[in-house]
Symmetry: C2
Subunit: 233 residues, 2 copies
DNA sequence: CGCATATTTGAAGCCCATCAAGCGAAGTGG
DNA sequence: CCACTTCGCTTGATGGGCTTCAAATATGCG
């Protein structure tokens, strides 16, 4: 179950430099009086918030991985974004709208809950926060555009190869990389069925393109995957 | 060909109240010295900028309609957003990245070109601009999420019905609505082929759901289309 | 009018979803 | 320790939805 661990301390926060608060002057962190975010933990699959709820708080992920999911009335779902440590999400309240998606942890997670009213005040005191947020949004919009190309213009194998590349890219494709998404979740993200995802992964394992052991993956031939992915540039 | 019509005058701009500059105090508009955006016109299909170019300017659309398009190396394309009068676009330079897409007019257009350096300075003077921009981005991110659901979780007919509904919604479905997109462009937007788009539109015309005359469309039965669209909430 | 372009319609085939069954690893209880 | 369940993954078979290819028809424009 969800659980409030206590009040957050920006000054000692391990992921602050990853967050939109990275540029806050270190000296000022103690004088932030009214901003007391709560640190909360959630179990895997326990929603941080649900699509349609009134959006009173934004969140910064401190640990773990979250999927933002939209659900259609008929039950079909689409993962619209994956949230990693340092990412912030749930800002719909800033434009007076309810959450546009549900935030569902992929594993046990820890978040910092930011009441929008307080964040708004803090943002006025420290314009660098708004600048940092703006940059994040531009980046997210770019990623959303990229994802639309994946979903709209690519075939199943291309989407999957592209996803694996993007997932493993940060490590330079070296060694075994944690892949905490089930086949079904990868499918939800790429607009495919679990069977299609499984078939291609199995194929590629047989062909020696990738290998997998206990939730970890290793790209043996990134170049050939890249070619399959139909990458741009 | 593209053409610079002259310097923009925020004070007399007809679409300013639609733009991110809506909240600028009317009195201050004359004292903005260093911000002299150019008004430019472009012909249909004449790119305002291309994917991959260095992003030195953002733009606000004054008149017409623009598609933001991403192209894969193999030539497949995806429209990632439609730009209407009052919308701003092309902010990639704010994070030091080249344009992530090409901006291609769907008809003759008129834009206001905003050099990023000047916009940055203006933004510092007038924090309300940044707030306005932030709200736009949140909105665009929501729309991008919605689009990902369309592309990832819906069938051809659902995507098309949903698109027609969204296009005609602002008018309350009354009367004939301008539809300046070709079948091919609708396909590019929805991740479908021109033939698939044409087939469903023809079907729906025969069934009396919609009618069309010289680039205008009229939804005769929005409820049944809505049902076809698989809409959320 | 005559040409170019957009749209419609048909036919064939492929990609992927769907349905169904089997496999394997982890956990439970007798 | 082993039957039994459970759950995620794999694999096969089938069908349908959409793409692709092709050609006819409609539309617009000089």
């Amino acid at each position: 179950m969800s659980n409030i661990k206590g009040k957050g301390q920006c000054r000692t926060c391990a992921i602050r430099q990853l967050s939109i608060f990275a540029l806050l002057p270190e000296a000022n962190l103690t004088e932030i009086q009214h901003f007391q975010p709560s640190i909360m933990t959630f179990a895997s699959n326990e929603a941080v918030y649900h699509q349609g709820e009134v959006a009173t708080c934004a969140y910064t992920l401190r640990q773990g991985l979250i999927r933002l999911v939209k659900t259609l009335p008929n039950g079909r779902t689409q993962i619209v974004r994956l949230i990693r440590a340092g990412d912030s999400f749930g800002f719909d309240g800033f434009i007076g709208e309810p959450y546009n998606h549900s935030a569902i942890p992929l594993c046990e997670i820890e978040v910092c809950r930011l009441p929008l009213a307080e964040l708004l005040a803090l943002k006025r005191q420290h314009p660098e926060i708004e600048s940092a947020m703006m940059k994040r949004w531009i980046q997210h919009l770019r990623e959303a555009e990229d994802m639309m190309v994946e979903l709209g213009a690519k075939k199943a194998s291309e989407r999957l190869a592209s996803f694996l590349i993007r997932w493993c890219e940060p490590t330079g494709f070296n060694g075994w990389i944690e892949l905490p998404l089930s086949r079904g979740e990868i499918g939800e993200l790429l607009g495919l069925t679990i069977e299609t995802v499984s078939r291609f992964i199995s194929d590629w394992k047989r062909q020696g393109l990738i290998e997998e052991r206990q939730g970890r993956i290793h790209l043996l031939d990134p170049e050939r995957l890249q070619a399959l992915a139909c990458v741009d540039d």
